[in-house]
Amino acid sequence: MTQTVMEPSQASPAKNPSLAGDAFEPVLIAFVCNWCTYTAADLAGTSRLTYPDNVRLVRVMCTGMVDPQYVIKAFLEGADAVLVSGCHPGDCHYINGNYKARRRILLLKQILPRFGIDAKRLRLTWIGASDGIEFAQTMTRFVKDIKEIGPCQARLQPVI
């Protein structure tokens, strides 16, 4: 079982998302835990709840396996925002991976904003297996917030 990238169902032909002009379409990466948030995403899908296709889901076994490097790399490669989402406290299949993830996100939130990466671009949420609605709402709100903030600078120039 490796990570799976869920391709957005409706693909638009544009290779580079438009950054200027009519509308800014951000690209978001969501590292979702296999047990809870991924199940919620699945539930949202089967319940036909819609959320913007700006979000690319990367399934991870546990939020605790999200190395800070993944988040840094995602931003440097041009993500406008990164979400890490896993089980509610106490629900983690791996007992405490989500608590460890929380500290790593805290660490990143001390570092990245120093370089102009708005703290709002990095989010950690707990979305349980049956929180299909919350998953869809979170994604919608996140995309909306990022549209307001605008594109991340790293997307405009190669900083990798």
């Binding site: 440097l76 406290p89 460890k100 707990w126 900083v159």
Partner: protein, 386 residues
Amino acid sequence: MIASIQTKNQSITRTLQDFFADLLKTGAVDAVLVPSRISKSPYVKPCLITSADQMDQTVPLGPGFFVNAGPMVSRLTRTRADATIGVWLRPCEVRAFVELTKLRQGGRQDVIILSMDCPMALSRKDYEDWAAQGEGGLGDVDKWIHTVYQKPVTKADAWPVARACQVCESPYPVNADVSVMLMGADLDKEIPVRADTEKGEKLLAALDLTDNGQEPAQRKAMLADLTADRTAAFQAMDEEMLVRTGSIDALNRFFSACVNCYNCRSVCPVCYCKECVFNTDAVAYAPAQYLSWADKWGQVPMPNDTVFFHLTRLAHIGCTCVGCGQCTLACPSQIPVADLFISVTRNVRKAFDYVPGRDDAEALPLSVFQESEFTDIVGMGNKEVT
């Protein structure tokens, strides 16, 4: 216990050299680790000395600081040494060693840590100039010592100390077995030495030292003044860094001279990895990926992953950076790496309420957790820490 060591020949260097020699002679330790000149060059390196008559080339206090000795002590203690080693460390070296013990890269069992009010350091260029002015290929060490311990200074003997030292807020021993309290002392007369642990007590007792000294009257106030100055200096540096690296674009410019030589990493005392992840296949990309990046932005600089490397290193040593400034000293491109790392990691420390080197028992922030903590960084709200 605080003992007083009489100054010999009005030379602190000489007094300390004799002190180390006595440690060996009395058998209080089997070896000492003290900075020493290499082949009479101006450059000093920590040397492991077992012979009491090898002390004349040692420079216990001086502005030369080209290796953080923390990792050297870790090498000496990674497994049991079956010997007692006295190690003479600057405060930031003690901090580095403490962090390394938490990372199981060494242990305290076989070492006795002797530390001092910090003599500070010069940048490589300044050091070379300073050394060139003295006799015998070395600057006037005792003059340096007299200057730095007489009043709070960021400049000593007319030389501006390294930026890392200018902003160091703990230039005094913490977590050592023996603390040498130089600040404010009447150095022509005596050096007050304090035992902070049982080991330290034993060591001083072995030299027949008694509890006849006291902390220099002005020391606390002087250290407080010094710390206040440095806090101000740190704030100035922090603001400068915010300007110089406060956006992705600025950061990119800041590191534009970086050539991925990884010197900063090599000299970093808390970059303890046997092999850096940037030397592994994790960052070996296929040609197509380079082309795809170039395609994305129209160009891609090579070598790439320079900013990625530094940000990753910030994440890795965010909690453990001891602020010794070796990275800046080592950078061939004169990038003030330490300035950036010190400003950013100060943020991280605050968030985790963690100070590297402060306490052996303090767990590494990323190795522990509590069920109910940092709840405000979770969720989509606006309460999160920025």
